[in-house]
């Protein structure tokens, strides 16, 4: 089944190994076949990957885009080890990310990494005592998440 994508003017999207930037008008198109697909709002860059959970998200994002685990294995587990040591209660979420990576399902791994970011904000918020989760700028994975757009 083809994946329907709509882009706002100037919005960017990664499909496979290329980045596509929309022109001045809204665009709607369908993607068939298998390739990593990441919308601009789901993408963290080195500037915005500025918290421990976001670093993990970023490493999974690299695995997804390049379709390779081993290249980013060491860095990923450095981040994971640091995180688990700091916040052991996050282990179930991290186990989920690991499991999805092991199954080769990077897109779902990214969604779990998104959960980790939310959990991190909850912990830091609780510690700050303000009870409000700090809004994460620049990332909000598709809510529906019914299917992995890569079809994998």
């Amino acid at each position: 089944m083809a994946l329907k994508v709509e882009l706002k003017p100037g919005e960017k999207i990664i499909i496979g190994k290329v980045a596509i930037r929309n022109g001045e008008q809204r665009a709607r198109f369908f993607i068939e076949g298998q390739a990593p697909i990441l919308r601009e709002k789901d993408i963290l860059n080195t500037e915005t990957a500025n918290s421990p959970a976001k670093c993990i998200y970023f490493a999974v994002q690299l695995m997804y885009v390049e379709g390779s685990i081993e290249k980013h294995h060491d860095l990923y587990f450095q981040f994971v080890r640091d995180f688990v040591n700091a916040a052991p209660s996050s282990t179930p979420i991290i186990a989920e990310i690991n499991n999805r990576i092991l199954s080769g399902d990077f897109y779902k791994a990214l969604k779990s990494a998104k959960e980790l970011i939310a959990y991190e904000q909850k912990l830091i918020g609780a510690m700050m005592g303000d009870g409000t989760a700090h809004e994460l700028s620049g990332t909000s994975l598709r809510k529906d998440g019914t299917a992995d757009p890569s079809g994998a």
Partner: protein
């Protein structure tokens, strides 16, 4: 009863507090001994069961690791055997070429015998290429892939992802071919053989070591056997790269799984100490440390090589 000791309220309170102390002491000693703050479901039910669940997942993954370990060993032994086969095939090739360049029947007959011996060594090597009862080079028909001998390795706890490594039969049947009948020419017999379909089986081994005798027939036989060797070697090369790639994939997965198990166990041990405020503070400290560390730099480096650099 006259022997009863009556405790005053003050003493009773002291006694209760002493009993408390001694219970606390026991708990501390147990925690010191085990290194865990929560040792039973009664200490902190939620954390206890969650930690227990994580350890169980760790055990499941460890079981997969055992299988992966066996598979890795199997592929390593297979790879070594293939290396050996390649060397033997090369030396057989050398001997045949040497025989082809002489008309001395003694040398030619010696070559014929050596070739038969090398073939036997190759088959012995193939037969010995097994590990833990599995041989990926010896099942089914010579020269053919046979899925019954494939190696299947699971990658996750739910067994939904796996790697199938194809088995191939590399028994050498090269010298089992009948002598070339009079009247046929070398050109007819030296047909290229597809790497996947090596020389067919079923020919009786030749008992007489005179097939290579000088003359047109001997020359044609040598040329034919050389051609078979050539296709055998190319078949081996295909198999070697197939097994090699799968070994790399498997070793990478093995390392990832090992690190996952470690994470689960570290997490389970830490979970019993979990305190949200403390975790929040530690995460903030970690954030600062990471931003000052070389990890941020590695992250940027790896991103630079990917399409993601376009989003920086």
């Amino acid at each position: 009863m006259p022997g009863d000791i009556v405790l005053s309220r003050g003493i009773r309170t002291n006694l209760l507090s002493l009993q408390d102390h001694s219970r606390n002491l026991e708990i501390s000693q147990e925690r010191l001994a085990t290194g865990k703050r929560v040792n039973s479901a009664l200490d902190n039910p939620l954390n206890y069961f969650q930690a227990d669940g994580l350890r169980q997942r760790g055990k499941d993954l460890s079981n997969l690791l055992d299988q992966m370990g066996i598979a890795v060993e199997t592929l390593k032994i297979t790879g070594k055997a293939i290396e050996g086969l390649q060397k033997l095939a090369e030396s057989a090739s050398g001997i045949l070429k040497n025989a082809a360049s002489t008309t001395d029947n003694t040398i030619r007959n010696q070559a014929r015998t050596s070739f038969e011996e090398i073939k036997n060594q190759m088959n012995q090597l193939v037969a010995d290429a097994g590990f833990n009862g599995r041989n990926m080079l010896n099942g089914g028909v010579a020269g053919a892939y046979d899925s019954r001998y494939d190696l299947r390795v699971s990658f996750n706890e739910t067994l939904t992802t796996q790697l199938d490594v194809k088995a191939i039969n590399l028994r050498a049947t090269l010298a089992g071919n009948p002598p070339i009948a009079a009247g046929s020419t070398a050109a007819q017999v030296v047909t290229p053989v597809a790497p996947d379909a090596l020389a067919p089986t079923g020919f009786p081994p030749r008992a007489v070591a005179t097939d290579y005798d000088s003359g047109a027939l001997g020359d044609a036989t040598i040329q034919r056997d050389l051609a078979y060797l050539q296709s055998y070697v190319s078949s081996i090369r295909g198999a070697a790269s197939n097994f090699g790639i799968n070994l790399t994939v498997l070793q990478n997965r093995q390392q990832f799984t090992k690190d996952s198990v470690l994470t689960l166990n570290v997490g389970a041990d830490g979970l019993v100490l979990a305190d949200q405020n403390e975790e929040g503070a530690k995460l903030l400290a970690l954030q600062t440390r990471q931003q000052l560390s070389t990890q941020a730099l590695s992250l940027a480096n790896q991103a630079d090589q990917a399409v993601l650099r376009l989003f920086n």
